[in-house]
Amino acid sequence: MNPRLRMAGAWSFALPRLALWAALMTLACVAWSAPALANPVATENVTARLLVERKAVAPGGSVDLALVLDIRRGWHTYWENPGDSGEPPRIDWTLPEGVHAGPLRFPHPELIRVGPLANYGYTGQAVHLIRLELPADWPAGEPVALTADASWLVCEDICIPEGARLALTLPTAEHAGPADLAVADLFETAREGLPRPLRGAARLERVPDSLGLSVPVTALPPGAGSPWFFAAEWGLIDHAAAQDWRLDGADWVATLTPGPMAATASAAGVLAVRAGDGRSAYYLDPVPAPLPATGAVPAESGLGLPLALLFALIGGLTLNLMPCVFPVLAMKVLHLTGHGRAERRERLMQGLAYTGGVLAFFALVAGLLLALRAGGGAVGWGYQLQYPPFVALMAYLFFILGLSLAGAVTLGARLMGLGAAGPSSGAPGAFVTGGLAALVAAPCTAPFMGAALGYGLTLPWYWALAVMLTLGFGLALPFLLLALVPAAARFLPRPGSWMETLKQFLAFPLFATAVWLVWVLAVQVGPDGVAAVLAGAVLLALGLWARERTLGASGWRRMLGTGAAVAALVAGLVLGIRLDEMQEAPAVARAQPADAPVAEPFSGERLADARAARRPVLVNMTAAWCITCLVNERVALSSPRIAGEFSAHELLYLKGDWTNRDPEITAYLERYGRTGVPLYVLYLPGRDPQVLPQILTEGIVLAALDPVAGAD
């Protein structure tokens, strides 16, 4: 070594020590008289500072603070999981009433080898950001005085617990002040060091003697290299063991040496990679099982095929009770009543044709879904409702069906297969009705369906088709049974004038469904879209009316009526389809009861930050067109009690709105094996994420929130 350097090295040890003593003595004196001046504080191995990013904070606003630890050369402090030994820094605040300090945030660590062991920590400098929130009623201009008792363990070969009482006074003003340029770079760098959400799904396979971790290359920035995985919890991996990262097709993969708790420890962690000039890091929250490869039925993945088929069947059966399907089914049953007593053969034909119609439609939808998926599209059940023109067309359909049932217009029996009792509506009519029942089922998601379809779509195409067809079969089953089982006919009431009354009454659930679809459009494309689709509906009604008036006429009158109907239909369709251009209306905040829990919009970053800060999080993936979602929110997630529990747990409630297309939410759903909403995921610190049932009650949410109390 160059002697001058060695001298410098010796000095760098001796000088700070002397300086530190002097500083400490001074500080000790100052501390007695004015503790507020103690910032920075130098200990034997660390100089600690508390900084604020802006020159003034506004009431009701927030500002980032930084706890900066300048660490003596050769020494290190620790990450949240310190690795084989050590302890992360802590901070205890003394704050004025109403001021709230968030948790310490940890930039991604480095691997620090200590003999045969390894620590996760920081050398040189560690910057921990803290978000400080000021209450709205803070008098602007009055400074905020805060005190932080920070403590940390600092180690070289040996370890010293140290601490400092740091004080800081923040000026406040009506509006937030400008960034303090002297510290701007430090805050910028600190933010870059925080792990970011991974744009994709990492997977962790736990087998007895090794852990296989894989991360899609596309989830990392282009050109990223030298990955290293830092486990968030002790016991998952051997911290010191080598990690043999290699590129395998479209994934970065590594075989990790398991730690003492590999079977049960949380799989979460941080992946640091070299990208460009520096290193960046990403939160990994690997899904436990490997995603099934196409061509093979996975032995153990979530649901399993038999259960998926069962769920599909139950889901299909339940669809019959949904407000969008029930009227159609009811009408079909009335139809059966109409001539049901007559011939068994006729009923049989009806039942089979109806089932055929349902299955044909589901096969069509399945084909479309699978083709879109094969093309790389991110689609799932209900995805069609993300396209405003489709919603508009469905609204028209329900409107026209309603008009028909109410008796305002007469539609061809063969076309609609509803209500008409003549023999002309035989098998082909039943087939069309089946297709129609399946079509009107599209806006509805029944319980059990989501899990079955989500699983089904990860399977090879033939199994996916089987799941879809089972769903359709479930939908068709009640009617099929009525038609096939002679004894069932006895339960059917006798025909009579009540049938007309019921038929007219059933128009109203259909109108209600149309109203709901228009509301979905309001969320998707705003008031202009609503005006367009309502105008379209009026045009359609006008056209149908014209046709109705001229039905009995002949010659040019009749042609005029039909022409008017066709023109109205075309105009309505054009209005509906043009809605697509209005897409991307800003998301509208939907009305909530005043004392419901406050939700923040979902973002992967927000989720990752909160989890890093060990804050519990509930993610609610919803959409305006998802009735189950809306019911769950009303029943289980809106009461003051839930709001109270959320705030008692300091839970962050994130709501993702999938009403319009959103690739981030689609990717999130995929990570949990879903292709549609609703999806509820609860993250408790130190535990694996927990997927809550698709039908929620307050009890389920409360029990999940408090696993310990729930177990008693």
């Binding site: 084989d84 030994s85 302890e87 045969p116 363990l153 070969d157 040996i158 370890c159 617990p161 003492p260």
Partner: protein, 206 residues
């Protein structure tokens, strides 16, 4: 030269494989399995081996008297109380010092005895493991790092001494002591519910 090249490479590979296999075995002591065998010399020159201790339950404590986490438990009298409790129940308590010469915590035998006397500690013996052989066999990572072995020689607990990973002596009072809990369960003939915990402390100075 060339004639020997192949056999040498082959036996080299075999040796490497054997070393790797042994390394794997040594690196992962498992709860419920036979504890890794060891043999070590105490401060009086007496040799202690696990094989000879068969029939007696054993507690291993990795220690380093200068480590703040170790000091927390000795200054509060916590470790000494636990030692007396365990030896009173028939346990053999071995405090192991795996610090390499020149590293923190490394002491000559006389100094180790002096520490035992001055701190009123009550281990059955203090093993000087300056080569780190026992430490590596047990994958000991921190001071303190605790291991409980039953009378049949099976490892029943490994990990932290308690659930408060701090250096603050005030935390001793309310802590759940995992070693005491393991002793209670074992004397009742039951499994240790938390058989593996995260050890906390300073790294072992190999």
């Amino acid at each position: 030269m060339k004639r020997y090249a192949r056999p040498t490479a082959l036996s080299g590979a075999l040796l490497l494989a054997a070393a790797l296999a042994a390394g794997t075995l040594a690196a992962a002591p498992q709860v419920g399995q036979p504890a890794p065998p060891f043999s070590g010399v105490d401060t009086t020159g007496k040799t202690w081996s696990l094989a000879e201790l068969k029939g007696q339950p054993v507690i291993l404590e990795w220690t380093n008297h200068d480590c703040p986490y170790v000091r927390k438990h000795y200054d509060a009298g916590n470790m000494q109380a636990l030692q007396k409790e365990a030896t009173g129940q028939g346990y053999v308590w071995l405090s192991v010092i795996s610090s390499a010469p020149g590293k923190q915590g490394h002491v000559p035998p006389a100094k180790a005895d002096e520490l035992t006397a001055s701190r009123a500690a009550a281990p059955s013996a203090v093993l000087i493991d300056e080569a780190g052989t026992i430490g590596r066999a047990y994958d000991a990572r921190t001071t303190p790092h605790m291991y409980v072995i039953d009378a049949e020689g099976r490892l029943r607990y490994m990990g932290a001494i308690d659930d408060r990973p701090t250096t603050d002596p005030a935390d001793v009072a309310g802590a759940i002591n995992y070693v005491r809990a393991a002793m209670t369960e074992l004397s009742a003939g039951a499994e240790v519910p938390q058989a593996v915990t995260r050890p906390y402390g300073c790294s072992v100075k190999y």
